[in-house]
């Protein structure tokens, strides 16, 4: 069992948890992920590692309530435990040699962009952190973000924080203004990562994306997480999750991400029934 030692609600849909998992904390590096399972009936769900404390033996995860399992995870509290928590899985991010970069985070992706930006910033790189949310109430980790970069640009879809637009528009503005990035790191929803890659393709700025496809074991066994990268089949769990964004077939990844939509809806329906105590 893996006890939840801290829970912090970041906004109405996003929650941070610190989980005691010494075997994971001992080896975790930025860019890697874990897989958790809540209980005996639970599914295995991958989440990127948002932070770790080797001494305390804890790993931080940040998740958004998007489906049945994440809704259920959110009902747990400090003192409760997860049945399974395995990792660190995947290859760590390769950020060596980066001097001037833009780290782009969209929505929940901000939670993962944050440790990346912090690691780069701590290593002395110049980091523009460009993050986007639907509205100002959804902005998370503002203080942490500020401390993890050279420039912080927060965009909102509705302009409620006074800065209306998408992260891609902000990135374009920075590129046009002559910010000479050697690398762009994009983490967030697939359409956002795709749009960033389209933008950086022409000026030939190296762009790294973090993929989060459906997977089961996370060790290369099921092949469910396969992606086409540069015309070759890659497994996100062992070859990634970071890939050269200019080589990723995003349209295929988006189609694969929709494979179990109807089943997810069915599972969520069951969840609501359990919560209200109504019969299915």
């Amino acid at each position: 069992m893996y006890p939840i030692v801290k829970k912090r609600v970041l906004n109405e849909t996003v929650t941070l948890m610190e989980v005691e998992a010494p075997l994971v904390a001992r080896k975790a590096k930025p860019g890697q992920f874990i897989i958790f399972r809540i209980d005996e009936e639970g599914e295995r769900v991958p989440l990127t590692i948002a932070g770790y404390d080797r001494e305390r033996g804890t790993v931080t995860i940040i998740f958004q309530k998007v489906g049945y399992t994440t809704e259920k995870l959110d009902t747990l509290n400090e003192g409760d435990s997860l049945l399974d928590f395995v990792g660190p899985l995947g290859e760590p991010s390769h950020t060596e040699g980066i001097r001037r970069c833009a780290v782009i985070g969209g929505g929940l992706g901000v939670a993962i962009a944050y440790p990346q930006a912090k690691a780069l910033h701590d290593a002395g790189a110049e980091v523009d952190l460009i993050v986007g949310f639907r509205n100002e109430h959804l902005i998370i980790l503002k203080d942490e973000l500020e401390a993890a970069c050279t420039n912080l640009i927060i965009m909102t879809d509705d302009g409620s924080n006074g800065n209306k637009g998408f992260v891609t528009q902000a990135l374009q503005k920075q590129i046009d203004a002559g910010r000479n990035y050697d690398t762009v790191i994009a983490i967030g929803p697939l359409p956002m990562m795709k749009a960033v890659c389209e933008m950086t393709r022409e000026p030939k700025i190296r762009t790294i994306v973090s993929m989060n496809p459906i997977m089961i074991d996370g060790t290369g066994m099921c092949g469910g997480c396969r992606l086409t990268v540069g015309g070759e089949t890659k497994f996100a769990c062992v070859d990634g999750p970071d890939f050269d964004g200019h080589l990723v077939d995003f349209d295929e990844a988006m189609a694969r991400g929709r494979m179990f939509r109807p089943e997810e809806a069915r599972a969520k329906e069951k969840h609501l029934c359990r919560m209200t105590g109504e019969a299915r």
Partner: protein, 460 residues
């Protein structure tokens, strides 16, 4: 007086029409009366040719004698002396090419039903709660076993019996490896695997789940942490694909993914269990091995029309004859001498059909199997919503990557001598991680040999 019937007593089975709609075990097992009767077919040959066909050297005539006498518990203990997992072997061993292929009764008529008797003895003893062999006195030696599949469990059991302190590390959340995630419930009930594993725990074997070798720890760290020996039984976990167009469409699964969703995650009970599986009305399974049969029979149980596509003819099929027979009985279609050339998708990225080409058999390849050659102009298309690729697995690279001084073959398998010693001191390996995808019993045989080598190299 020996029972001179030329046929082995048939295995009582669930009716094919009924069982194609459930996940309960197909074979129901012998009753005590049938078992004693079948045991009486054994001639107790002095030279026991059957034993030479057994990768773990079970003293077959001895245990069958006990069954004849009605001493079922004694029969089980005789098997247990050489085989750590009898209830499993009695079900999934290819006896027809091992022990039973050497049986003298098979010269004229059918061999003795050794596998069925082994299963009977194990089930009877376990049902009576007689599975516990007791802990051996500690000898002060310590071993780490990577992987809790048949190779790892067998190696761990042998070492524990010799008094070693053994810890097994498993990457998944449940111990058992392919016995849990791969082989379906209707062929190997999971409760039974769990019972076999708990009897290993009673021997003192510790099992740590959610522990991925090469990620959470390395082989070198296990040695530094005071293990006298490390055994690698990590299996052949990485699924192969055909590299034909359309393999990334929604609705295409590796057999590993499909079987793991069903067996380990219990997707056939969805939404009771949270992991879903999606199966269309028409399912194609590519491949001709036991895994292909398992996948096809699972899909059938989910209500699909299932077609197996195999590029050679039935004679070359690597699957056990019994599995092919069961699949046919359950109404699975076989398209032999058929190779898929592409999978076609609809506008949403879901599978809508599979294109195939007919094959004929040409010259034998290096393994002596006749090579399939495409027949020009014979292409055709079958409507499909689901495609399951069951064409084998490659060894998982995680351990190789993080243990640079462990010699491996070019295709990724770990190099060992015939007793499981690798090129790295105090490191042993066995099972699919060494041989590539093979059988449960060969992996068990390798685990047992490696345990013997470990005991020989580390005398207490």
């Amino acid at each position: 007086m020996a029972n001179m019937s030329l046929q082995k007593h048939p295995m009582p089975e669930q009716d094919p029409v009924v069982r194609a709609g459930n996940f309960k075990e197909v074979a129901l097992g012998y009753t005590p009366e049938i078992a004693v009767e079948e045991a009486q077919r054994c001639l107790h040959c002095k030279n026991a040719p059957c034993v030479t066909g057994c990768p773990v050297n079970v003293p077959i005539p001895d245990f069958i004698d006990r069954i004849k006498e009605g001493d079922f518990e004694g029969a089980y203990q005789v098997i247990r002396s050489q085989n750590a997992l009898p209830a499993i072997c009695g079900r999934v061993c290819p006896q027809e090419s091992q022990c039973e292929s050497k049986c003298v009764r098979g010269i004229k008529g059918e061999p003795v039903g050794i596998g069925r008797l082994e299963r009977f003895a194990a089930d009877t003893a376990m049902a009576a709660g007689k599975a516990n062999a007791g802990k051996a006195p500690a000898c002060g030696k310590k071993a780490a076993v990577i992987g809790s599949g048949p190779a790892g469990l067998t190696c761990a059991g042998q070492l524990a019996k010799a008094g070693w302190d053994v810890t097994v590390y498993e990457a998944l959340h449940t111990a058992g490896g392919v016995l849990m995630y791969g082989i379906p419930e209707f062929r190997l009930p999971k409760a039974l695997v769990e019972r076999e594993i708990s009897s290993l725990k009673e021997l003192g074997v510790k099992i740590i789940t959610n522990a991925v070798a090469g990620k959470a720890f390395t082989v070198d760290e296990l040695l530094e942490e005071g293990n006298d020996a490390v055994f690698i039984g990590s299996g052949a976990g990485l699924p192969n694909f055909q590299k034909i167009p359309g393999e990334s469409l929604c609705g295409v699964y590796s057999a590993n993914e499909f079987l793991t969703r069903l067996n380990l995650m219990k997707a056939y009970t969805f939404p009771e269990h949270d992991t879903p599986v999606k199966v269309g009305a028409h399912v194609a399974v590519i491949g001709g091995g036991n895994v292909a049969m398992d996948a096809a029979r699972c899909a059938k149980r989910l209500g699909a029309e299932v077609t197996i596509l195999y590029r050679r003819s039935e004679a070359e099929m690597p699957a056990r004859a019994e599995e092919v027979h069961h699949a046919k009985e359950e109404g699975i279609h076989f398209h032999m001498l058929t190779a898929p050339t592409s999978i076609e998708g609809d506008e949403n990225g879901f599978v809508k059909s599979i294109r195939c080409i007919e094959m004929k058999l040409g010259e034998p390849d290096e393994r002596g199997r006749r090579r399939p050659v495409p027949i020009e102009g014979s292409e055709y298309e079958l409507p499909m919503e689901t495609v399951i690729v069951a064409i084998g697995n490659s060894p998982n690279p995680l351990i190789k990557k993080t243990t640079p001084d462990l010699p491996t073959e070019r295709w990724g398998g770990i190099q060992t001598d015939e007793n499981g010693r690798t090129g790295k001191k105090n490191v042993y390996a066995g099972g699919d991680a060494v041989t590539g995808a093979a059988t449960v019993i060969l992996a068990m045989g390798a685990g047992k040999k490696a345990a013997a080598a470990i005991l020989e190299d580390h005398p207490s």
